[in-house]
Amino acid sequence: MRIRSSARLVCLSLAAPLLGGCFLSRNTVNVPLHAERSAALAPGRSTQSEVLAALGAPNEVVQLGYRSAWRYDHTVEKRAGLSLIVVTLINTDVQQDRLWMFFDEHGVLACFGATLDADEAVYELPWSDSHNVE
């Protein structure tokens, strides 16, 4: 009886590594954007200096004739995987905070657009779909 129990334990020990495992990883690019900082900026009034003071240096500047646009972004990538012997299932979700500030020819904020989705990146397996993708 004792021999049979030991054999079962050995079999289980050998099988455990073959069953594989799961993993989670997270990558981020840049620091999160804060809605309240951009909300304090007023189109038609705020200047480039004020935007710099509020948000720091942009990640990209695009010249638009005498006007310009500045981009701020923060990216979150969440990856979840499950490894079963020879099959690996992986889901990767990349979401972003973005802010584009458009300035007129005098360096005054003309308008801006904000998307704050980075917090909505999720860990899930490939058969799940928490985002409503068209």
Binding site: L64, Y66, R98, G107, E134
Partner: protein
């Protein structure tokens, strides 16, 4: 089946088992979601003549902004979703998908919505599709400065104030 006929099958099974047990052969099922698509309903509310500010309020911040001749502008929203199987041998995945989002490199799977605005930043037209095709003529152009307005010699555009 004779013993001679069973021998090759057993050898094949043994070889496959050996390869899989030492993880030389691996199958991978992968789904990658990059950003959120723009809803068709939101797009339908945009008509030619809509100001850039109203479009940004409706759609959020774009992924790309490109300069167009005379101070006009084009913006693009991008997203992609890839699902598929891959097979790897000795750690080399035969088919794989790239999960990174790179502003300088649009993949063939990246879809999007591109909006073109005139020099007064009013919507001229918009187009949805594979963003690499739709936005192919836009690219990264060199600055295209319009003629300075008359009597504005003292203006120093784009100087931080």
């Amino acid at each position: 089946m004779s013993a001679a006929g069973r021998r090759p099958a057993a050898a094949l099974a043994l070889a496959v088992s050996a390869l899989t047990l030492c993880s030389c052969v691996r199958a991978r099922y992968q789904k990658i979601t990059l950003l959120r698509p723009i809803a068709s309903a939101a797009e339908a509310e945009l008509a030619p003549g809509t100001e850039l500010s109203a479009c940004l309020a409706q759609l959020g911040a774009p992924n790309y902004v490109w300069e167009q001749p005379g101070g006009a502008v084009a913006v693009a929203y991008a997203w992609s979703r890839s699902v598929g199987w891959g097979l790897g041998v000795s750690g080399t995945v035969v088919r794989n998908v790239d999960a990174s989002f790179n502003y300088d490199d649009l993949s063939a799977d990246t879809r999007g919505l591109v909006l073109w605005f005139d020099t007064r930043w009013r919507l001229e037209r918009l187009e949805r599709g594979r963003i690499r095709d739709v936005a192919a003529p836009l690219g990264r152009a060199r600055p295209n400065l319009p003629t300075p307005p008359r009597g504005d010699a003292d203006a120093r555009p784009n100087q931080p104030r």
